[in-house]
Symmetry: D2
Subunit: 280 residues, 4 copies
């Protein structure tokens, strides 16, 4: 698939972007690989959607590794530092040793200038500062970025080596990279980085990638949302609490059908409730 | 830590074993690494147990990677083939090219000679065959193994290259390897391989490893059991079903305390129930 | 890229094959990724071929990770066991738990029935056995495979669980998988498995993959051959020996040009010779 | 092995350090793992040193993965950004979201304030600037760091969220992490980062790690130096050039012994020369 056909780009933050550069595979490629594992026996039982949902639900993750996406991304260095912690991807980043860093820095929008969260050690409050205060902060930040870049330029003009001159550029400076990852590992990335606990600035990029890839793997993405992104894990003790709360409750097929739980999935749900009861 | 002090070995199946050869780190090493990430702010709030449980609950998995275990394992080839799919480990396996394979084959115990499961495409039934039938099957299998090994010996005596002579040895033949893995990835292995859907023969090894490492990381293992192994994930639809079932239900702190849910964990549970309500 | 356009298949051994299923990227994709790293400064200096060769020569391996290949492969289990040791790939293998193993076994061709090598602990001799002896060995092997498969069928007909019935199938039994890998890691695989020390049976597959991918990345493959596959590493002591052997020797540009060493590469060669001299 | 016994620390740059926190295994652990692969046949032939050198020479890298090192490192962010590209390690880094970044910045020593290299696009010149110019540059840099940190403090005092306030801190700011890696992958890291093409500031850390681990694996480190670090690879064309230069040269065992090449290694060297001749 050529650049020309997949050059869809989504702007992120004030100067960044995610561009989908290349794609290998789709929902059919997941099914193709799964059928080699699970053999012809599975052919009759499942339709593709059912098979993909079954794979996702039961942590049969390897078929999702058969789809690969390549992105071109422009992002602030502090976002790149969080991002690179995901080790199961291929990366080629712009190098400040080979090339001059550009005069582009992330400046938060006024509504993202917020106090330290009181409930979340790692996050910011839900409300922005008063707009004049936000503006003052943003102006301070911008001035510092301008100063840092002016000094960088001055050092380069003195012929200081690029690899030394760049060390005082702030982590708000934009960088670029090509980033390539398979769908299973991308889902893992999205799960952690779309999450409300992730820093706002990386969430924006994660959401953009989700939006770009969904059209290529609509069934897999739907399964990812249903079984991972919008699912909830209950601990051993929480399951006991649920069991206590549901204690005398009879569950009917109609009740489950009312929320869309039918067939195999309804049966699996009843098994879970039964298992909770037994364990409690 | 030397072989001498950690040479604990657990027999597995008829001729296999797991031996814990070396250990780096313990619960304290997890805490040590987490504190560098989360800084001094965390020191007062959490005790070690609380911190470890928090890390496990919120998928902060990197501190668990700071503990490393090395095992010496003897296992049938068909188990090794399932095992090796876990790629995040270091392996040195006995080589049938360099050395002569040994006359040791896995023979199922009579109670593991079972019919194909009717409910589980990949598994066996809950009940064994009648004992005479099981015995007959086991005798057939043993004879085939003896024949294969006798032929192997004959081929070697003709000076056929080892790497060729061994190709008709069955996958029940035992092999050996050193296998080294960090605790986070071991937990992932155990989660998949202690599970009832894993083949019985690999479950035996997974359980042995769990038993060997638990004394070194009792707090981490407890958290793994509470939040992963004995937890349950509910899908988007299942959460809607739970919400419907719990609809009019008021939940009191006393009810939660009765099953052991207190403080931060009780609050998180109530947040989950609230989130379900909002999403439904 | 669809199956239809890339369905090229090469037969391997007696019943196996390698089929190239999908491709992401080509030589241009390597250059594209490298340019983001090394910036516009590189644009004028290098042509694409020069850049790719420079990357390969100087171990700048990440741009080669930007190309991805997916194969469908049918191979004997003992080959699969060597192959799977390469952990940086994605795999979906046929499962003997879900599906019935097929009646297909690897039988060596007569000229591959050879004695243990006297010089190479892990390999076979350069010469085949006398043809009658080879034929006798092949007949023995075939009979054992037929016996094993007949017993497998008998056990299945008794309704023994597939996951148990298959344990006496020999490692010459064929399996199948989808296997997906990036070009950098494929080169690493090929380097080890095209090598004369690799077992003949896996070399056949490695060569087939090399033949299938070369047309997609002709420049990268040429560089891989020149700088890796057909290169030679000399140890510290060997360099001293070379220096002693070359001691009084003047090297002229014409001599180097005579074998094709020109420009930057000739300069790098002279630097190496100089470095040897200094170190000795 | 406890912190107490391995707390050796080496200072790096102006405010950084490498501290060896924990060690699993040593030369004997490499031999132990290799013997399981290569079997008892190897026992008589090789002594431990010979076996380790054989493994290194022939790219049998997995036994080196059986040794693991854990470091505590304090390093500038721009060094951390190069370092983290090595994906085969475990990392826990200090978090500017959870904790306040410290007032510690890397300031180059005067002799590292150098011009852009004219021969090396990514590096700096061999000579420092005149000392007054270096001092002026260092003073400029220090002032910018002080300004950035003062603004950071001011933003924190306004209660701006830590994760936002830190975005204008320069990449010269120090961070810390725990970093754990196996010996094979550490050798790969060292090979790339001790190299003269690596940035000076990361070379300092690589050398410190090499110095800290060498006492634990003296034989493996010696082999790494002889066969990797101080070896040289010659390309296909360079081998042809060597062959032309050596053309009429007879090589005697005495000549090889004179530089220390004896026995198996001398034989392998002669084989290489012979192979070159054949290929040319």
């Amino acid at each position: 698939m050529s650049d020309a056909t997949t050059g869809t780009m989504i702007s992120c933050l004030d100067k960044g972007f995610v561009r989908l550069v290349d794609v290998m595979g789709d929902d059919a490629a997941i099914v193709q690989a799964a059928r080699v594992s699970y053999g012809s026996g599975t052919k009759k039982v499942h339709e593709d959607r059912g098979l993909i949902r079954y794979l996702m639900r039961h942590l049969h993750t390897t078929p999702f590794e058969m789809v690969e996406f390549k992105f071109h991304i422009k992002l602030p260095i502090f976002v790149a530092r969080q991002w690179i912690r995901h080790r199961t991807a291929n990366v080629n980043e712009y190098s400040g040793r080979y090339s001059e860093m550009k005069d582009e820095f992330y400046v938060p929008s006024l509504d993202q200038v917020r106090a330290q969260s009181t409930s979340n050690k790692q996050g910011r409050a839900d409300e922005a500062f008063p707009v004049e205060e936000s503006r003052r902060i943003v102006d301070m930040m911008t001035a510092t970025q301008e100063h840092a870049y002016a000094e960088y330029q001055e050092l380069l003009s003195m012929d200081l080596a690029r690899e030394v001159a760049r060390i005082n550029l702030p982590v708000s400076n934009y960088t670029e990279w090509y980033w390539k990852i398979d769908l299973h590992n991308l889902f893992h990335f999205l799960r952690l980085r779309i999450d409300a606990h992730a820093q706002y600035e990386i969430r924006v990029f994660a959401q953009a990638m989700a939006d770009l890839i969904r059209p290529y793997v609509p069934l897999a993405y739907e399964a990812f949302e249903d079984y991972i992104l919008k699912s909830e894990r209950f601990s051993r003790l929480e399951l006991q609490a649920l069991d206590a709360l549901l204690a005398s409750r009879e569950v009917t097929a109609d009740e489950l059908a009312a929320v869309g739980l039918k067939g195999r999935e309804a049966a699996e749900f009843l098994e879970k409730l039964e298992a909770i009861k037994t364990a409690s």
